[in-house]
Symmetry: C2
Subunit: 225 residues, 2 copies
């Protein structure tokens, strides 16, 4: 998001990247506590770059630094999830509306259409992992089309926070058949330059998704993931 191009040179940057991987893969589980010195040792570097990385990750909402109690991988409650989905709903709908106003050509929107096709294939093959990755890509691409770098950054942060929770929920929820109709409707509205429809359809899409996830967490008594 901020620093290097391809090869992360600084230890600090490496620490951010590797800690993110450990968090998203679940190796650093939600709610677990970790000492700076342990993390430093496991990453093969001194505490200094690890501390700097932890400050960055705290700013991204992924960890809580709690003096003398270790850094906690931030757990997400159903309330947190609802908050995050509400933010995503608003900002992505704004992005959809702005995208529609940009007057993109069919060619400009090819990538987004391709991503929707990927989701279709994933659904047919019942490959939920592939579907999730394509869904992430769809939302990221949509937001990019809105051309607001702050919206992009915030949406990315919120998506990151949700990603870990999906490790748990992905195989519990119903197959998201409905989703792709919504995605295509948003794409069509953008292509037609209809900002209101793009925003409205996307808003409904996200609102429905929020309900599915939050209900799922509450039904299964997952007070934090």
């Amino acid at each position: 998001m901020n620093t290097q191009d391809h090869r992360i040179r600084s230890s600090s940057g490496q620490a951010v990247e590797r800690l993110r991987e450990l968090i998203f893969s679940g190796q650093l589980g939600a709610g677990s506590d970790h000492l700076e010195s342990e993390l430093a040792e496991s990453l093969g570097m001194s505490r200094t770059p690890v501390r700097e990385a932890l400050l960055v990750l705290e700013g991204q909402g992924l960890v809580d630094v709690r003096p003398r109690k270790g850094v906690r991988i931030k757990p997400l409650s159903p309330v947190d999830m609802a908050e995050i989905y509400d933010v995503l709903t608003e900002l992505e709908s704004l992005a959809a509306a702005n995208a529609a106003r940009e007057g993109y050509s069919a060619d400009d929107l090819q990538q987004l259409e391709h991503t929707i096709n990927l989701m279709d294939s994933a659904l047919e093959e019942n490959d939920r992992g592939a579907w999730a990755r394509a869904d992430d890509a769809f939302h990221a691409e949509l937001v990019q089309l809105g051309r607001n770098s702050r919206v992009e950054a915030i949406a990315q942060m919120m998506s990151d926070q949700v990603r870990r929770a999906r490790l748990v929920t992905l195989h519990m929820r119903p197959v998201p058949n409905r989703s792709n109709e919504d995605h295509r409707a948003v794409l069509d509205a953008i292509a037609a330059g209809d900002a209101d429809t793009a925003a409205r359809v996307h808003r409904e899409h996200r609102t429905a998704a929020k309900k599915v996830i939050v209900d799922l967490l509450e039904t299964h008594h997952l007070s934090s993931v």
Copy 2:
């Protein structure tokens, strides 16, 4: 936003607070570059806590850390300002809608009404500084009523980024007479539990404000503030 209650104990926390003051007061001007060692000396501490503070401030969008070129106090272009206002418009309107749904009593809303009254007085006395502070307070209180901690945090960050620019624009723009009608209309809609109206009125309010500010910057050829 994150750590201490009243007395900042750690140097790192002090550095964040004091650097923020220096930025918002204009003593560290937009676009200016500064060495870590200079900042450390002027704050009377070593580089370590200053570096940590700069990482936090970078996360808040207030500075850019550019290796070997010093940290730059992030300047805002008219495009940046438009982006920020768009984010604020969406999230505050969401907050207004959610506030309306909370079913607050007149008593709960007393603080917000008081703040609007403060703005009225400030306008009568033509005290733009007081008006600006009350306007900040209004928006902060509104967002709090929406009960979404992430919306609060993001709105705060965006407001912070705008605050420095207002040093320049505050005395250039027309007296914001219209503003308070809007504020009262939002308050009334919240009190009436009318979420759609609250969101719509607030959206129109912010959209108008965005236009005033962006036009002002462009008219005066302020490519960055």
